[in-house]
Amino acid sequence: MTAADELSVRVLVPAGVLGWGVRADEIAAGLDLKPHAIAVDAGSTDSGPAYLATGRSKYGRQSVKRDLSILMDARRRAGIPLLIGSCGTSGCDMAVDDTLEIAKEVACEQGSALRIAVLYSEQSPKDLKVRNANGKVKPLAPSAALRDDSLEACSHIVALMGPEPYIAAIDAGADIVLGGRTTDTAVLAAIPLMRGANVAAAWHAAKIAECGGLCTIHPTSPGVMMSVDRHGFTMEPLSPQNRCTPETVSAHMLYENSDPFRLAEPGGVLDVTDSHYVAIDDRRVRVTGSRWETKPYTMKLEGAGGGPFQTMMLVGIEDPAVLADVDSFVARMERGLRQRLVRTLGNEAGKIDLSLRPYGWNAVSGRAAGAGAPPPREIGLMLVVTAPSQELATEAARVSNPLFFHFPVREGSELPSYAFPFSPAEIERGQVFEFHLNHVVHTASPFELVRTRWVDVSATPGKAASA
């Protein structure tokens, strides 16, 4: 065997997401395997548009700080780089800066000197309009060609980075890389790609490891180690008590993917149609046969912004007379509320959307419950009022209140009182946020839409210099 054949690049993936709750015992077990880097993703669009539209993190600051403290301490002891992708959930600039502040705080507390590379990938609508006009922006199914107003509707737009900016940052001496929005896989694949491992295996390993312990038999045990070599990769859990099996590893290609065999990434497509998954022992799985097809370099765009405002109310109903025919009760109430809004608010009522959702009956799907469905024991009836302003949404909810609270079981019957859980009854939910972009942008290089900033933290507590 030559040295090249023996190449094995190990990346410790402590959890599927920063802030989940990494386990110090797992990290210690992982460090015993001498990893070349620690890498973790910190973001997703999975939880909806609010995080990108507002730039706020989904996870609590203390959750992120706790995980960062453990990982930065492990990094320092092992003398290896720490790579974090999609900082602050959305990976927009302000979310990255929030994570940078936490990292600087931890570095000062730990008294360690380090170089942090910060990668930004937030984009301006103005620049993207020009790229779109030049034919560089293409829609993804099921969306149509990009329109300027979709860009203007976004409060934040990010482009998903590939591994190249991470590799460049590590090459230039970064101890820690804090990245803006990046594909979940790119941040984990970066070090194996940099060190010359098999390209397809690096991407495939990263895809399997991106949710941490989800590719193991105990998904709540969050850490895994990916080892990528010239021919394939091996996946194993960090915890000695946990196991990977060919089924748990191969099944992870299904998770949150619309296609289980092909995964589009910046600069190529991973194809696992002919991948082969074999148990090496009772807790490690070896994977070979994955393919990588090089494609023109593209970065996916994500954009979200604020829409109208909502105010909601909830009543509990146990009255069997209502529950005997929930559908007609809800239909009558909706007509009644609509009439009351028109009577009270006049033309303003035309701007208001009302949605009645009987939880315990058919609120989750909104589909008819079907003939012969037995009456529920109780329902929670939610009224969602949507309007162009918070004030109007709340005014409409308050106008609706008496009818929503006392709506008669039958025309002309006495007025019942349903069970409000709160006072005041209405709850201002704030703004509705919406995704607007489902497109990719073609770039001449992986760095064209990326900005790198260097932050040096000195060993003296309280000092951080920014370049």
Partner: protein, 102 residues
């Protein structure tokens, strides 16, 4: 003949990005997979009708090694809009449970 819920050990749905939903049907054996994975009861047309999307946009992937079929379809509206009822699309599999195989 059995319903889908009678021959699948596990059925799940999940958002696959803000614009797609993906449903995984795990059959309970290689035999039930072989017998039903291509059944008209779970054709693209049936899926399209249930979720109110175009049949041409429905993607179906039989995965023999896992005795499962993955079905993906575009969301009628992007995740998280004004009328969102299931942010992560985690309950969207339920109407499929009662589908009747031939």
């Amino acid at each position: 003949m059995p319903k889908l819920k009678d021959v699948c050990r596990y059925v799940r749905s999940k958002n696959a990005g803000p614009f797609w939903v993906t449903v995984d049907l795990f059959f309970d054996s290689a035999e039930t997979y072989a017998k039903y994975h291509d059944d008209p009861a779970i054709s693209s047309e049936v899926i399209a009708a249930i979720y109110g999307v175009e049949a041409a946009l429905v993607k179906r992937f039989p995965v023999k090694s896992l005795n499962m079929v993955k079905i993906s379809y575009p969301r009628a509206t992007p995740q998280g809009g004004v009328h969102e009822r299931d942010m992560h699309s985690g309950q969207q599999f339920v109407p499929l449970l009662e589908l009747q195989f031939r």
